[in-house]
C-alpha cells in the first residue's frame, strides 16, 4: 500500500506538478485551461487510481465476463474517447445503472455520471433510431407515456398484457422478454383517487384536524409536495395512499404537484433528451412547491435518487440544486422531522415476517438499514434483511430479452436469501426490485410505507376518516 500512498499523495489531480520549482520561490498557480463550458469529467477520470473496487461491486461483471466493468465504462472509456479513433464501446448498454460503483469508489470518481453521459452519447451517435433495439428502449424508457392509456382501460390492458400471444409478440417484435408478466394496472390511479377525495383542500383540512388532535399549533405550516412517480400512480396506488395517510397523521398537508417521470428509465437507456424534458417539468413544478413552503417527498427510491443525484450531475435548470437538496425519502423525512420511531413504539400489528431487500438506489442514499431499524419499533413485525446483493432487474434492464438471463443470474443470491429468511412476504421500496422479488420467489411484496400506515392509522382503507385510531 506504500506505493499507492505515494501515488495518491503526489498526483492528486487538483495539484499541478511543480517539480523544479524551488520551495523558496513564491509559487503562483496560473489558469492554463479556459473555464469549461461543458460538463468536465477530467478531474473525475484523473481521480481513478485503478484499485478496481468498483469492479468488485458490479453485479453485471460478476455474472457476465463479456461486460468490462465500471472502471472501463467510466474513467477508461472517457480517456479513450478523447482520441479520434475511438468510439463509445457498445458494452455501455450492458450497464444496468444500479449505481453501486458510486458508493464503492474510494477516490471520488463520479462513475454513474460518466456512465450516463457515455450511454447518452452512444445512443445519440451510434444507435440507429429505426432499429428494433432503439424503439424498444424508447418504449421502455417512456413507460409513462403508455401507462395513461393502459390506466384508462386497466382491465382491458391487464387482459391483453397477460395474454401469452402478447408476450410472444413482445419478445419477437420488440425484444421484451416473454418470461416476465407485465405489472397490473390499477383500476383507479392514485391521482384519480386523490382528485375524488378532494385534492389538496381535503388534505389541508385533515392535516389541521390531525394537528389539533396532536395538540400542536393548528396554523403551523407543515406541508409536503409528494413526488409519487409513475408506478405508485398507475400500478400501486396503495403505496401512495399509505404515504398520504401517514403524513396526514403527523399533521402534514400533502400537495400533489404536476409531474413527469423522474427520468430513471431514460438515463438507463441513454435517452438523455427525454430525461431532460421530464426533469425540466419536474424541477419547475417542484421548485414552485418549495416556494410554497413544502419539502419534496418521494416513496420510490429510484425517483428520489434521480432527483437528488442525477439531476444536479446532468442538468442545470434554474432551481435544480435547490430541488435536489430538499427532496427526501418518505421514511427518512419523518425520522428527522418527527419522532417516527417514538410514534411507532407501542403500536402493534398482527404477527407478520418480511424478507426485506434494500434496493441499490436506497443503498446509494445511505438508507439501507433504515427499514429494519424503523419497523423494529412495531410489535408483531419481524423484518429480515436479505443482504446486500442486487435484485438484478434494475428497472427496464431485466425486461430486455438479451438481459433476462443475466438479470436472473444476478438475482439468484437474493432469491436464495429470501428463501432462507423466515418469511413468506417480501418488502422493498423499489417498484422494479419488487417485480423481480415476486418473479423469483412468488411472494407477495409490500412497501415499507404500507406497514407504517397500517401501524399508525390502521388498514381499513375506505374508512380512513378514523385516521387517528389504532394507537
Amino acid at each position: 500500500m506504500r506505493a499507492a500512498d505515494a501515488g495518491e499523495f503526489m498526483s492528486d489531480a487538483e495539484h499541478p506538478t511543480d517539480d523544479g520549482v524551488s520551495s523558496d520561490d513564491e509559487f503562483e498557480p496560473i489558469q492554463v485551461f479556459p473555464e469549461a463550458e461543458e460538463m468536465d469529467l477530467r478531474p473525475g477520470a484523473d481521480n481513478c487510481y485503478k484499485c478496481s473496487t468498483c469492479d468488485t461491486n458490479c453485479p453485471v461483471a460478476e455474472v457476465d465476463d463479456e461486460f468490462p466493468g465500471p472502471k472501463f465504462q467510466g474513467p477508461e472509456q472517457w480517456r479513450l474517447k478523447r482520441q479520434d479513433d475511438h468510439d463509445i464501446d457498445d458494452s455501455v448498454m450492458k450497464c444496468s445503472n444500479c449505481m453501486r460503483c458510486d458508493s464503492a469508489c474510494p477516490s471520488e470518481v463520479p462513475l454513474s455520471q460518466m456512465h450516463n453521459t457515455a450511454r447518452g452519447e452512444y445512443v445519440d451517435e451510434h444507435m440507429n433510431t429505426l432499429s428494433r433495439e432503439y424503439i424498444r428502449n424508447r418504449i421502455l424508457a417512456n413507460y409513462r407515456r403508455l401507462a395513461p392509456l393502459a390506466a384508462a382501460f386497466p382491465r382491458t390492458a391487464n387482459f391483453v398484457m397477460g395474454l401469452s400471444v402478447t408476450q410472444w409478440l413482445g419478445e419477437k417484435t420488440l425484444g421484451i422478454t416473454g418470461e416476465r408478466e407485465f405489472p397490473e394496472f390499477a383500476t383507479e390511479t392514485f391521482r384519480e383517487w386523490w382528485t375524488k377525495r378532494g385534492g389538496n383542500a381535503t388534505s389541508k383540512q385533515r392535516a389541521q384536524e390531525a394537528r389539533a388532535e396532536r395538540g400542536g399549533a393548528t396554523d403551523e405550516a407543515k406541508r409536503i409536495a409528494y413526488f409519487h412517480g409513475c408506478y405508485s400512480n398507475y400500478n400501486t396506488p396503495e403505496v401512495a395512499k399509505a404515504l398520504v395517510r401517514v403524513y396526514e397523521h403527523f399533521g402534514y398537508e400533502v400537495m400533489v404537484p404536476e409531474q413527469s417521470c423522474s427520468g430513471t428509465p431514460m438515463f438507463a437507456n441513454g435517452m438523455l433528451e427525454d430525461a431532460r424534458r421530464a426533469a425540466e417539468t419536474n424541477v419547475r413544478e417542484l421548485a414552485a412547491a418549495l416556494e410554497e413552503g413544502a419539502d419534496i417527498i418521494a416513496s420510490c427510491s429510484s425517483c428520489s435518487m434521480s432527483i437528488r443525484q442525477e439531476y444536479p450531475e446532468l442538468f442545470d435548470f434554474e432551481g435544480t440544486d435547490d430541488v435536489a437538496a430538499n427532496t427526501w425519502d418518505a421514511v427518512e423525512y419523518l425520522r428527522v422531522h418527527e419522532d417516527l420511531e417514538g410514534e411507532l413504539e407501542g403500536t402493534s400489528l398482527e404477527d407478520e415476517s418480511f424478507a426485506y431487500h434494500a434496493p441499490c438506489h436506497s443503498r446509494n442514499q445511505g438508507l439501507d438499514g433504515q427499514t429494519i431499524e424503523v419497523l423494529g419499533a412495531i410489535d408483531g413485525i419481524d423484518a429480515h434483511d436479505v443482504g446486500d446483493s442486487c435484485s438484478g432487474i434494475s428497472g427496464t434492464y431485466g425486461w430486455k430479452e438479451e438481459n433476462y438471463e443475466t438479470s436472473m443470474k444476478i438475482g439468484e443470491e437474493m432469491f436464495e436469501h429470501m428463501d432462507d429468511a423466515p418469511a413468506e412476504t417480501g418488502l422493498t421500496e423499489c417498484p422494479t426490485c419488487s417485480m423481480q422479488m415476486e418473479h423469483g420467489t412468488g411472494y407477495e411484496i409490500k412497501h415499507t410505507l404500507e406497514i407504517i400506515a397500517a401501524a399508525l392509522v390502521g388498514t381499513d382503507l375506505e374508512t380512513d376518516h378514523d385516521h387517528q385510531q389504532a394507537r
Binding site: M1, R2, D5, S23, T53, V63, A104, A325, G366
Partner: protein
C-alpha cells in the same frame, strides 16, 4: 430531530467495525456510518501485528517481544501490549473458524502473490495449507487471464527466498473464463455457483473442470496453491471440493487489490455487526459537527445526503476514517489535515519535508495522522484532548508506518477495540 444512538463510529474498515463491535459488547446502541465501502477490499485479509520493527529489523519471530521497545506515540505504545492481546482474542471470537493462527504468539509466514513471504499474526483458513514454514512441496497454479499472479515467477521467488520446499509454478487457462480482464468476482462466482462450463470433455461444473485442468499438471506435490479467487460466499466448500478431486491440500495465495480475502473479511465483520445489533449506515459522508454549549463535547454530527443535512447525535464518537488512502487524512499544498473535526495533524511546515526521494525510504508522510492520549482521544497542538467524547482508531492515527512495519491490521484491531470499549463504557453511563 437528530437520529440518536449511544455510540457513533465514523468509518467502516477494520478499525471502525472492531470499534462498533467492541462498543456493542457494553450493551449500548451503536451506529456505524461509512461513506464509501471499506478499504478492506484493498486488504490482503491477513491480520498482522508487527512484522518488522520501526528500524526495519525483521521479519520478527514474535511480535509481542518487540512491543515494549516501540517509540512513544506508536499506537501500540498508547494502548499497551495487553490491549493488543485482548483485541486479538476478541477478533478470534468474531472470526471463529474462518481464521487461523491463534495457537501461537509467533508470526506465521504466508507466501504472497509476488512470491515474497509476509509475517502475520492471523490468516484466513484458506491460506493455512500454504505456510512457508511447512516443508511439503507445492504446486502453484496461475491463469493466463489473471496477470496479477505469475505462478512460475512466484514459485521461483519463493525458492530464492529459501523456503524449505520446492515451489513449482504452472500457468493454465481457467475453464469458463474467456475475457482477458474478467473481474476476480467473476472467477469466484463461477466457482461459488459451480456454473456449467464447456471444456474439451464437454459440459461440466466449473469446480470439476478446474480440478481436471490442474490434475494433469500435478506431479508429486502434496499441496496446490491458487490465487485467492476460490469462491466468495461458499469459499470453504469450493476449496474442499477441489482438495477432494485432487487428493491434496488446497490453499490460496493472498492477492493485491481488489482482494477476495479482504471482501470475505468485510462480509464476516458486517455479519457480526448485524448480529450484535449495530446499525449500519453506508454510502453517505459525515461532513460537519456541532459542539455543545461548552465547546468541549461534540453534540451531533451532520451527514450530507446530496445536499440534505441529516443530524446524528450520540454520546460518544469514534473516528476511524482511515489514513491518506481512506481519506481520513488529506493534504493540500500548504497543509495536511483531518477533514471532519479538523483535529491537529503534526507535520512539517515545508511540504518538501513531507517525503524523501527514496520511494521505499523512511517516508514522513507514512506517519501522518492524529496524535492521541492513552484513551485514544485526539490531542491539540497543546496536548489537550480536542473533544472529551471523541476517540480515534486505525490508520487515522499517527506514529506508525503500517506498510513498512506490517502492522496495519493489528493497529486497527487494537485501537478499534480500545476506542470502542471505552466509548461503549462511557456511552452507557
Amino acid at each position: 430531530m437528530a437520529i440518536e444512538d449511544d455510540v457513533l463510529v465514523i468509518g467502516g474498515g477494520l478499525a471502525g467495525a472492531t470499534a462498533a463491535l467492541a462498543a456493542a459488547e457494553q450493551d449500548v446502541q451503536v451506529r456505524l456510518i461509512t461513506h464509501k465501502q471499506s478499504t478492506l477490499r484493498h486488504a490482503s485479509g491477513l491480520i498482522d501485528v508487527l512484522g518488522y520493527t520501526p528500524e526495519g529489523d525483521g521479519p520478527l519471530v514474535d511480535p509481542f517481544d518487540a512491543l515494549a521497545d516501540l517509540p512513544d506515540g506508536h499506537p501500540y505504545e498508547r494502548v499497551g501490549a495487553e490491549a493488543v492481546r485482548e483485541a486479538l482474542s476478541f477478533f478470534d471470537d468474531v472470526a471463529g473458524e474462518a481464521y487461523a493462527g491463534a495457537h501461537t504468539d509467533a508470526n506465521a509466514l504466508v507466501p504472497t502473490h509476488g512470491g515474497t513471504v509476509k509475517p502475520t499474526a492471523r490468516y484466513p483458513a484458506s491460506t493455512a495449507a500454504g505456510l512457508a514454514s511447512d516443508d511439503r512441496d507445492a504446486l502453484l497454479v496461475g491463469f493466463e487471464t489473471l496477470p496479477d499472479f505469475e505462478a512460475p515467477l512466484a514459485g521461483a521467488h519463493l525458492e530464492a527466498a529459501g523456503v524449505p520446499f520446492s515451489a513449482r509454478g504452472v500457468t493454465l487457462s481457467f475453464p469458463g473464463i474467456v475475457r482477458d480482464d474478467a473481474k476476480v468476482t467473476r472467477y469466484a462466482h463461477l466457482l461459488d455457483q459451480n456454473e456449467s462450463v464447456s471444456t474439451g470433455a464437454g459440459e461440466t461444473g466449473a469446480r470439476e473442470a478446474l480440478a481436471a485442468a490442474v490434475e494433469a499438471h500435478l506431479e508429486d506435490e502434496s499441496r496446490v496453491g491458487f490465487p485467492a479467487i476460490l469462491g466468495d460466499d461458499h469459499a470453504a466448500e469450493v476449496r474442499a471440493d477441489l482438495a477432494d478431486a485432487l487428493g491434496v491440500d488446497v490453499f490460496e495465495v493472498p492477492m493485491g487489490p481488489p482482494s477476495l480475502p479482504g471482501l470475505r473479511l468485510e462480509d464476516l465483520l458486517y455479519e457480526a455487526l448485524e448480529d450484535a445489533g449495530v446499525r449500519v449506515t453506508s454510502g453517505v459522508p459525515v461532513v460537519e459537527y456541532e459542539t455543545g454549549a461548552d465547546g468541549d463535547r461534540i453534540d451531533h454530527v451532520v451527514v450530507d445526503r446530496t445536499g440534505s443535512k441529516l443530524p446524528h447525535r450520540a454520546d460518544q464518537y469514534v473516528l476511524a476514517t482511515g489514513g491518506l488512502v481512506g481519506k481520513g487524512v488529506r493534504s493540500e499544498r500548504e497543509r495536511v489535515y483531518e477533514p471532519l473535526f479538523d483535529c491537529h495533524v503534526p507535520h512539517a511546515a515545508d511540504r518538501y519535508d513531507w517525503f524523501v526521494d527514496d520511494v521505499f525510504g523512511d517516508q514522513p508522510y507514512a506517519r501522518f495522522g492524529l496524535r492521541v492520549d492513552r484513551e485514544l482521544r485526539p490531542l491539540t497542538a497543546d496536548d489537550e484532548p480536542e473533544f472529551s467524547n471523541l476517540r480515534a482508531a486505525g490508520a487515522v492515527l499517527s506514529g506508525y508506518d503500517f506498510a513498512a512495519e506490517k502492522s496495519g491490521g493489528g493497529v486497527s484491531l487494537a485501537t478499534g477495540y480500545v476506542a470502542g470499549t471505552r466509548a461503549g463504557e462511557e456511552g452507557g453511563e
